[in-house]
Structures are given as C-alpha cells and as structure tokens.
C-alpha cells in the first residue's frame, strides 16, 4: 500500500461516512538535532515518524483524526473517525462553510538542496559545533552553546476534489551563542542570530555561516556587555539590524495579517488582530517605504514550499504595498468567509496536526539605502541588533523587544556599546515612522513559531534588512 493509497482510502472512508469534502496527508518526518556546550557534544537526537491525518467536512463542521500507521484498515478507520468528529461539531454549529474554488493539482515538488543535511557525517557536523563552542569557551565565555537542526519531510496529499500532490522539503540551520554571567545578570551574544539561521535548503547553509569564525568575537562581546553602560531610557531614533527587524515583521505584521486571527478564530489563545477587513486596501499600515510580500516561492527561505497543506500552489502576493495594507494570509475556508478568492497559506507541523493559517515568507522588499548610510544620516539614536526577548499583545499592537546588543549613534557614527537595549511601541505607529530602509536583505528563518491548540511549531521566513524608525521609546526596564 503506497502513501497515496493510504491517503485515498482515508478520504474515501470519510466521504462514505457522510463528509462532503475530505482531504488526507501522509507525512514521513525525519528530524535530527545536535547541541554542543563548551566544546563537548551535549545531545544528539534523531527522530522519525510516519502517520496520516484526515480532515473531513460534514455539514458545517470540521473534524480531524490522525493515526500513526498506514494500513488500509487504519486509514479507513481514521477517515470514519474524522467524519464522526466533524458530526459532533454540529452540536455547537456555526455558519455554513464553503471553500474557495481550487484547481485540483496533480504534482510533485522538492525543495532545492545542494548537500543533503542528513547525508553529512555526524562526526563532521559534531566537529563543527565542538570547534565553534570550544573557541568561544577558550575566549572567555562562561557558556558557549551551539546547535544545528535538520528536518526532512515528505508529504503525500489527496483530496476529494482530485488533488494528488507529493512534496519533499528539506530544511536545516544552526547557530552558536556565548554567554557571560555577571553577579546579577547574564549577557549573551549569538551568531548569526538568537536562534540561528534556517532555510529550506541543504547543509550548505550551515557551512556558509562560518560558526567557528565568529566564535571568538561573540565571546568577547558578551564579556564586554557585562560592563557596558545600560541603554538609556527615552525617545530616540532607532536603527534595527535585519535579524531583529525580521522578528518585528513576524510579530507585528505576519501574525496580524493572519485571516483566522482577523476572523476571531484564534481569539481565546493566540489572539485576534487590530486589523479590520473593511479597511483592506485602504489602511495605512506603515510609511511608503513599507512593501511587504507573502512569498512562499523564495528559493531557500524557510517559509517556502510548492503547495500548502490544502493543495494550493505557492503564489507570491502583496501584503503591504507602499504602506497600504492589501493582503492577508489565508486558507480556503477563511478566505471564503472573507470573500477573498485565494487561500495558499495553510500548513500543519506534522501528520497529527490540523492544517491552519500560517506565515510563509513574509518579508520587506529592499529599500534604497545601506546600513552605513543609515548610520551616517542619524544625528542621535541607538542601533540594536539580534533579538533577545519578544512580547506583543493579543491584538498585535503593543510590542516590546529586547536585543542582545546596542550601540549609541552620535553625529552619524557608531559609538559606545550599550547593554540591555529594549524598545517598545505600537505596530502601525512604529511602521509609519520608518524613514530609511537598507537594500541588504537576508531571508531570516524562524523555526519556532507557536500557534494553535493543540500547539504547533511553524517554520517561517522573513526577508529583512536594517531600517531606521523615528522617535521610538527605548530603554524600558524593571
């Protein structure tokens, strides 16, 4: 019995049990991670799972059931159970459900990969982390940590509308950090970012990061931060590095434009959105420099795929154009509720989880400047880089971010290093204050986006470059 056969059997069983629509995903997931600490390997984990998840629509109710096996009997039972769960939803019914029309694709897709990450010898991968963390430790860091992660995912998707799609998606990435511990606080520096850099690509990404080459520097900086002056409190011009801006986009744009949040479907947990669909196409989200795209077609970026988990093909769309809000992340059912004609942004993190609206690659198009030009044009401000903490309210308006490191900017020059830099603001006011944007774009990957109940971890991409924002409140502290 092939994976497609199992998925098709599940779909048919759901239809036989009364579903008017059903789809099924078989997923074969392979995961590997290794962490190192102070020059020693700390943990190596490999995980492999295969299973099938079925989604059934009965009347106006959805149901989902997942099983860890692919036999014909198990697949059919999963289909029947999904329909039974959907039928139970009718006890608390909602409005009629429709799906935006979709062309039933029959296709195969694989992400680009020069060096298969799982094919690289464990000893080589381990040596890379051992060398980098050993160097940082020798340089004086109290804690030097390194990590890589690899995901190798195969999916087979079948729907009652005729979809039949298989995909092979390989993702990987990694990073290192150096922590220096003082009497009352800790200071950490990371490379290339707090979580590392991740992409839908091969091991060549990790090799390109040159972890060992940056280890001594971040150790030095973490120690220097312990005695650096605290980031001053007040309002000033803020220059953000691209890595931090990527998370700013993720939290204050990406989640806000998720249609399920806008419709209230996430109200009790992840929250809603300050955005109102009535303002789609007219709302001023940010300054005219702000052009945000939803683009799962970017080669190598972490939010890329061929088809989403409803079988919609990857398509690039605008979310914000010249500062105006023009697009959302949607699925076929949420799009139909909103009167839109496309889904395309629905994914699940495994075979046992329900597909839901998810960011793909949500990023800023490049601006006309460079970071050096932005600094040179700033009389009085703070430059902050590499995320350290992040918090945003349930409507995605009020945020506070902390960064690992900051620098004074005075008279167009980078000055003293600052510790514990934080900044806070309100999303649209912040984005409207962006007046300079660099062209030095990097598609940062975020491998830890939590959403949903039961919880799911999403992989998202965020092209971003350094940018300047005017009159931002910085230096918030306890």
């Amino acid at each position: 019995m092939t994976e497609f056969d199992a998925a098709a059997a599940a779909v048919q069983a759901a239809l036989d049990a009364g579903a008017r629509y059903a789809d099924a995903r078989v997923m074969h997931l392979r995961y590997e991670s290794m962490s190192a600490r102070n020059g020693d390997i700390e943990e190596l984990t490999q995980h492999e799972s295969i299973g099938l998840g079925v989604r059934a629509l009965v009347g106006s109710g959805w149901g989902f059931h997942a099983v860890p096996e692919l036999s014909d009997a198990a697949a059919r039972e999963a289909g029947r159970r999904a329909a039974a769960v959907a039928a139970a939803s009718a006890r608390v019914p909602g409005p009629p459900i429709t799906l935006t029309p979709a062309e039933p694709a029959v296709a195969s897709w694989a992400s680009g990969c020069a060096v298969d990450p799982l094919g690289v010898a464990l000893s080589d991968k381990g040596d890379l982390l051992v060398r980098a963390t050993g160097t940082a430790r020798d340089q004086g860091a109290d804690l030097a940590e390194g990590l890589y992660q690899i995901w190798d995912t195969r999916k087979w998707f079948v729907s009652s509308e005729g979809h039949r799609i298989d995909q092979h998606i390989r993702e990987c990435g990694g990073g290192i950090s150096a922590t220096s511990i003082g009497e009352h606080e800790t200071q950490r520096r990371s490379w290339p970012s707090y979580r590392g850099q991740y992409g839908t690509t091969g091991w060549e990404l990790v090799e390109s990061l040159d972890l060992a080459g940056h280890a001594a520097r971040i150790a030095d900086e973490s120690r220097a931060l312990l005695t650096a002056p605290e980031c001053p409190a007040g309002e000033t011009d803020l220059i953000l590095g691209g890595e931090q801006l990527a998370l700013q986009i993720h939290e204050s744009v990406g989640h806000a434009i998720e249609l399920d949040r806008i419709l209230g479907w996430e109200a009790a947990f992840a929250g809603t959105s300050w955005l109102d669909l009535a303002q789609l196409g007219s709302l001023r989200y940010g300054s005219e420099l702000m052009n945000v795209t939803i683009d799962p077609t970017i080669p190598g970026a972490l939010g890329s795929f061929g088809f989403d988990d409803e079988g919609s093909p990857a398509v690039r769309r605008d979310a914000v154009r010249e500062g105006r809000w023009v697009g959302v992340l949607a699925g076929r059912d949420s799009a139909a509720v909103a009167g839109l004609d496309h889904g395309g942004s629905v994914r699940a993190d495994g075979w046992a989880r329900l597909p839901m609206v998810r960011m793909t690659n949500v990023g800023l198009e490049p601006g006309p400047h460079t970071l050096d030009e932005i600094i040179a044009a700033t009389d009085d401000g703070v430059l902050m880089d590499i995320n350290r903490s992040w918090s945003i309210d349930d409507r995605r308006l009020n945020f506070q971010f902390g960064c690992e490191i900051g620098w004074e900017v005075r008279n167009g020059r980078r000055g003293r290093m600052l510790r514990n830099p934080t900044y806070t603001g309100i999303g649209p006011l912040f984005w409207r204050s962006m007046d300079m944007l660099s062209s030095e774009t990097v598609p940062w990957g975020t491998p830890n986006c939590g959403k949903g109940q039961p919880g799911q971890i999403g992989h998202t991409g965020h092209p971003a470059a350094p940018a300047r924002f005017r009159n931002v409140r910085v230096g918030v502290r306890a």
């Binding site: 939803s89 511990i181 209230g264 046992a352 506070q400």
Partner: protein
C-alpha cells in the same frame, strides 16, 4: 506498519524488546534506556460561539537513548513494528558510534520502585467527541449571548520505561482541561480549569464565570503606568509559576549560574511555599530516565529548598536526580511542570488537595459595587477587600524573559484588569504592559495575601499544569499602556 493495539503488545513489551535488540546488536556493554508512550489527545475548539476545529489523534512514540564506548545518542520514532524498532536501534547505535565522546554521561537509573499515582479515569481516556462538544455547548449557552471561544481537551497516556540496568516501570494517566473566554464588545473574560477527569469540568460554570468577567470588563479606561499593588487571579499566578519553573528551578541553569535560586536562602516572602508534585495527576509516575517522580519542595515558607534535576544536571551538581528528565532536557535543562503554590492554609491544602471548582460566589465583600462581576469568587474577594488602591489582574499574556538570572520579564495583562479603590473594583482598565522581576515581586515582605483555594490551570501541553490561589502583591511594575 502496525500500531500497538493491533500488535497486541503493551508499551512495556515494546520497551523491553528495544533493550533486547540493543543487546543483540551492540553486546552487553551497551547501555540503553527506552520509553514508549501511547498518547490519545482530543481537543474541541470553539470561536465565535461555534466549534470550528475539532481534532483527535492517536500516537505512539518510542524514545531510545544509548551509551556505547563513551558516546551517547538518542533516537525516537513512531514505528513500533519489528522492522521499525530494528531500524531505530540501528540508527541510534550508528549515531552513537559516530558521535564525539560524552564525558558527562551520568549513567542509567538503577532499579527502583515506581508507584503509579492511580489517577486514571477511563471515561476521560475514551471520551467521545460528543462529550467534549456538550461541555462546549454548556459554556456557549452560559455566556448568555456574548461571543465565546476556547477549547475542551481530553488526553490519555499509557507509558512504560525499561533500561539495561534492570529498571522498568509503567503508568497511565488522564487529563481534562477547559479554557474559554467570553467576549463583550472588545472586553474578554476568562475561565480556565485543569482536572484529572472530564467529569471535573463544568462548562456552564466556566461559561458563567467568563461572562461575568467580560461584562465587568466593559468600557475600560487608560491608566498611567507605574507601580501598583495587585491581586493576581490564578490564571495570572500560573504565569509566575511557569517562568519560575523554567528559569529559576531548573537545575541545569542553576549549575550554570543562570538562575536566581539560592537553596537555603530566604528569597521569597514567608507566605510562599512551592511544591512540584507530578504525583498529583497528569504526568507519568516516572520520568524520561526511569527515575520515580515524587513531590519536590522548591520553596518552603519563603526559603528556597532546591531545584529540579535530571541525571545529567544532578551529576554536574553533585546530587541525585529529582525525576525531572524530559526530552530536550540535556540542552534546556530539567523543568518542573506540575508546580503548586500552596494556599493560605498550606499544610491543610497539601493534605486534602485543591478544590477544583469554579463558579460564581454568593456575595462576598467585593462582589458588588460599581463593577459587579469583576470578582467572581470569595477567595479573590477576600484579597481585594483590604486593598486601598491597586489593580485586579485576571491573566498575563506573552511573557518573555529579558534577563534569565534576575528573571526580569515583560508581558501584558489580558482578559480583564480592574482598578480597585477602598476594596472595591471601580473601573475596568485597558491592558497594560509590565516589566517586572518575578523573584523580587514575590520577595520577603512583598506578598500581602494569599487565597485559600488553589485552582489548577492547564499547561499548553497536556500533562503539565500550574496551580495556585489568587495572590496579593505589594508592587507590580507596569511600564506602559497597550492601546493602539
């Protein structure tokens, strides 16, 4: 591929078979530990007052850790047929051989007795979707025309552990949880409860509570930032417990000097007693390394008594495991996930357990007044009544650590905040952002009152929970408004 039930094999059979396979392939010198867990999880989710997501999953996971020739590797999977188990063993042994040495290997758990907590409820384990939907129906009906959103969740775990040193254990556990909000014109009220049995969840009572809070939260006003005295309801207290557990009472972080915890020191107010008690429901009676789980006192009457350890962190600290081995623990460290802040009559509560009921209070000193419904239980009312001026806070949201050692955290209020004057909630307040050091907020002299009835709050992942009564604190640092 075959599932456990079809194979007729128990979790213990599968775990023992994997240990046997390791011996066959790698010889008697190979050390191996295996955990097998069957997990049935179902969650009925509602929003805009209807069920919009309704899921059920059956899964099985096998986790193998081997130590061979000074090298360690862990592997896991969902394949429990003979070929799948053989592949797991082969893969993990291969990984161990190729890995750099592991000089900190702490060895296997020796044979020791594990006692099941006996907290299994068959009706919860095999609950049908209709049983969850009925509770959702009751919640939705009880909010009286307001919008309702939330979930009802049931879970069942059956697991076993075997290692090559002779330790074996098995256990089963169930959990049920409900978490919902009522929404009234942009104001939300919350009701949340975790129980060992589905019968312990009263959707109507939870809905009524959430609706009362939502109505009381209408027309909020902006309040200037600053330090305020606060009464935190159990949902907000759960956030304190969770962050203290992850960052403060984590043995690895403590050994690395990244935690504030200082065993033997009076770091908290004398009213604070914290116990991690996995035997109290939700968790297996053994951890990932086969160590029996027991209650662990972390803070006793304000004095820090200990931190949580797995075998690796314990070896690093020169002590023994407290039964907190978890997946990923080697990297992040061992985290207590069943933390109880004992109520005002701590010793009595510990003996009798919590009273897992949520419902409106009949009267109470602060139940009426300009904002009726803000206070919905006698326990909270008793803490609000003596407050001259302060805030009543229902819930915290999106709390993140600015500095792990001092445990300075930023986050926001959610699901209702009220200004209290002369013991009476006088106005609903818009959400506020705070930046606060949690240990300092609970420090000596900082706790002005503690409720008598802890209320168990579900974790985002079933099996974990956070339990505390409402809590009155002298000062909480609100750093700004959250309004757009």
């Amino acid at each position: 591929m075959t599932g456990l039930r079809d194979a007729g094999a128990t979790e213990l059979d599968v775990a023992a078979r994997v240990v046997e396979l390791v011996r066959e392939v790698a010889g008697p010198a190979a050390e191996a530990e295996v955990t097998v867990v069957r997990h049935d999880l179902a969650l009925t989710r509602f929003a805009n007052s209807f069920i919009h997501q309704n899921v059920a999953e059956s899964g099985v996971s096998v986790r193998l850790r081997v130590h061979l020739d000074g090298r360690t590797a862990a592997g896991g999977g969902s394949l429990v047929d003979p070929d799948g188990l053989r592949a797991l063993v082969g893969r993990t042994l291969t990984a161990a051989r190729l890995c750099p040495p592991d000089p900190a290997w702490p060895g296997l758990t020796p044979p020791s007795s594990v006692h099941s907590n006996g907290l299994l409820d068959e009706a919860t384990a095999y609950a049908e979707p209709a049983a969850r939907a009925d509770r959702v129906r009751a919640f939705v009906d009880a909010v009286g025309g307001l919008e309702a959103a939330g979930y009802c969740r049931t879970s069942y775990r059956s697991g076993a552990f075997v290692n090559s040193a002779g330790q074996s254990a098995q256990g089963r556990t169930t959990e049920a949880a409900m978490d919902g909000i009522a929404r009234s014109g942009g104001a939300d009220g919350v009701a949340r409860l975790c129980a060992g049995r589905l019968d312990g969840l009263d959707g109507a009572a939870l809905g009524a509570r959430a609706a009362a809070k939502a109505r009381a939260a209408a027309d909020p006003v902006e309040l200037p930032p600053g330090r305020y005295e606060v009464v935190l309801e159990p949902a907000a207290v759960a956030d304190l417990l969770q962050n203290l557990a992850w960052y403060g009472f984590n043995g690895k972080r403590h050994t690395e000097r990244q935690s504030f915890a200082s065993p033997g020191a009076a770091q908290f107010d004398p009213a604070v007693t914290l116990v991690d008690d996995p035997t109290y429901g939700g968790e297996m009676p053994f951890d990932l390394e086969g160590t029996p789980r027991r209650a662990l006192t972390l803070v006793e009457a304000g004095t820090t008594r200990g931190v949580a350890h797995d075998r690796r962190s314990a070896a690093g600290a020169g002590t023994t495991s407290t039964g907190h081995g978890t997946p990923g623990g080697s990297t992040f460290g061992p985290v207590p996930r069943n933390l109880r802040l004992l109520g005002h009559t701590g010793a009595d509560d510990a003996a009798t357990g919590p009273v897992p009921t949520v419902g409106p209070v009949a009267g109470g000193p602060a139940a009426d007044g300009p904002v009726a419904g803000a206070v919905v239980d006698a326990d909270t009312a008793a803490l609000v009544a003596p407050m001259a001026r302060g805030l009543l806070v229902s819930d915290f949201w999106y709390t993140r650590v600015l500095d792990p050692k001092s445990l300075v955290i930023t986050g926001l209020t959610r699901n209702g905040v009220w200004l209290v004057e002369d013991g009476v909630p006088v106005r609903a307040v818009r959400n506020l952002r705070f930046t606060e050091a949690y240990p300092r907020a609970l420090g000596p002299g900082a706790v002005l009152g503690l409720g008598r009835r802890p209320v168990r709050q579900p974790d985002r992942i079933d099996g974990g929970w956070w339990e505390g009564p409402p809590l009155r604190l002298a000062s909480w640092n609100f750093t700004g408004g959250a309004s757009g």
